[in-house]
Amino acid sequence: MNNTNHGSITQKRRRPSEILLYGLIFLLAAFLAALVVFIIGYILAKGLPAISVQFLTTAENPIEETVGIFPSIVNTLYIVFFALIICVPLGVGGAIYLSEYAKNKKIVGAIQFASETLAGIPSILYGIFGFVFFCVLLNLHVSLLAGVLTLTIMVLPIMMRTTQEALRAVPKSYRDGALGLGATKWYLIRTILLPCSLKGILTGVILSVGRMVSESAALLLVAGGSAMYMPRGSVWEQLSHSGSTLSVELYRYAMSRGDNSTAFGIASVLIIIVALLNLLTRFVAWRLNKR
């Protein structure tokens, strides 16, 4: 075991340092795998027993002391849905602008920089900004609506980035061909670019939903509240009330109430949602690749 020729190209035997490195890598990988299985298993083991039909479809009843997370499920659906309505067009539009229209280097640079900056800001700061701007300044108070707007800015970079990637993947020949035939830009976008980038856009939507569903810090500050009541009143009325989404409700159960088993139950629900979203991404990719 002659180790004096470290870089010798004639030395091909496995040296002890290499064996150690292989060992280390395998050990780390095995450890991580075990850790992941353990974490997910623990959460499900503690949480699944708490899930029942009543858990999922009713609101909490403090008199009978039963637990139900239906209101927070509805709140989550609202926030995600309305945030998507705003940020998907904005994000896709912005990406289209960057890749198809922008000539001025400064504007392109500014938008790129802004997008990357937004992506790097931690959620607690979104919480502060959302509170100061939407809740106080725009007088929306702590409400689901403020939550919608805050989440919109938060996932905007995700939508923009994934759409940009998708647009980039459209072959140049498509564009040249269309323009050569005399199409206008808007026509090109409408009939060729958007359909071709659909996979990327959908991936972006799914990623954004994932981000929104697991968001807690910002929503705690901006949309706060508890999800006590079954939904009543018009949609607009509900949006202007404070309300907690699944993640925030999880936080409430774990912290304010010390009800760990319900907290794990909600966590299990969230994990299942995230897993479904992941599967959906792969499905989308598979389906659209078949074209």
Binding site: P62, F81, G225, M255
Partner: protein
């Protein structure tokens, strides 16, 4: 693919609108008559009350307040009581400004003038329980000992009759009503609390911390104490219980308050809720939740 996508989108939209269109079609909210044991017949409402009542404030009163609101709303189907939990400080501020008709506080109003213009009405008495790990069988702690522990003068359990182990002090966060009540009752200034004490911002977090740490000590609202997770320590020889709170032998207690703006009249719905809380039925709910009714 486009078809499937638009179908899914349409389905989601329908689902949301159905879910969102509320309980007017009466669904799973149980009526009072289906509540177990002794939830008595609903208080007859003189007029058909309707409207919204905006309230907010302390998070400590959550357990009892959500039950009170639930029952009140069940009795008065047309009324919605909002309860925003952003802390006693917020509750006080927003009641002064008029944003909330009723505010919730787990501490007394400051007497330095910054919180003038409010009337605080006590509706429940809450005991503060000193909690330790399940394996810690310390018999009792006196005020002096607690003071020493929380200011850092006493650092080892053996100094107060326990085993030889360093004490982990757990406290609530700055601004907590429970913290100010506890420190005032025991007799130390909040600023004197050990700087290396673990700070948790809620009952659940304190309880979780204490339940995992054999040498920890903390204080939480008695109504939230889960004796399957932690032990409550007798204070000055008196174990904490509803009876001990009632006859006054357990001294660590504080009151929960409903705040109203002095001199202004409440809307009928808000007034009805206020009266409900102080009524026999309301007070029964208070005691069911582990607190002492004020009457």
């Amino acid at each position: 693919m486009k078809k499937t996508f638009s179908l899914i989108l349409a389905a989601v939209l329908v689902a949301i609108s159905v879910a969102g269109c509320g309980t007017k079609s009466g669904n799973t909210t149980p009526t009072p008559s289906s509540a177990p044991t002794d939830a008595s017949t609903p208080t007859p409402t003189a007029a058909n009350l309707s409207g919204g009542v905006k309230t907010g404030g302390s998070t400590s009163v959550e357990k009892v307040m959500t039950a009170l609101i639930y029952q009140f709303q069940a009795d008065n189907r047309e009324v919605t009581v909002d309860y925003e939990m952003n802390g006693s400080g917020d509750g006080i501020k927003n009641t002064i400004s008029g944003l909330y008709e009723l505010g919730h506080s787990s501490r007394e109003l400051k007497s330095d003038g910054s919180e003038d213009g409010l009337t605080a009405t006590a509706y429940a008495i809450d005991g503060i329980a000193v909690v330790v790990h399940k394996d810690n069988s310390i018999a009792t702690l006196t005020a002096a000992q607690l003071r020493g522990i929380y200011t850092g003068e006493i650092t080892n359990w053996k100094e107060v009759g326990g085993s030889d182990a360093l004490i982990t002090v757990v406290t609530r966060e700055e601004g907590s009503g429970t913290r100010s009540a506890f420190s005032e009752l025991i007799g130390f200034k909040e600023a004197e609390i050990l700087t290396s004490a673990t700070v948790q911002d809620s009952t659940g977090a304190v309880q979780t911390t204490v339940s995992q740490n054999p040498n920890a000590i903390g204080y939480i609202s008695f109504s939230d104490a889960d004796t399957s997770k932690v032990n409550t320590v007798p204070y000055e020889g008196v174990a904490v219980s509803e009876a001990a709170l009632k006859d006054g032998s357990y001294k660590l207690k504080r009151e929960f308050y409903l705040l109203t703006k002095t001199g202004s009249t409440l809307s009928p719905a808000a007034q009805a809720f206020f009266d409900f809380v102080l009524s026999a039925e309301g007070q029964k709910i208070v005691s069911e939740k582990g607190l002492l009714p004020i009457r």
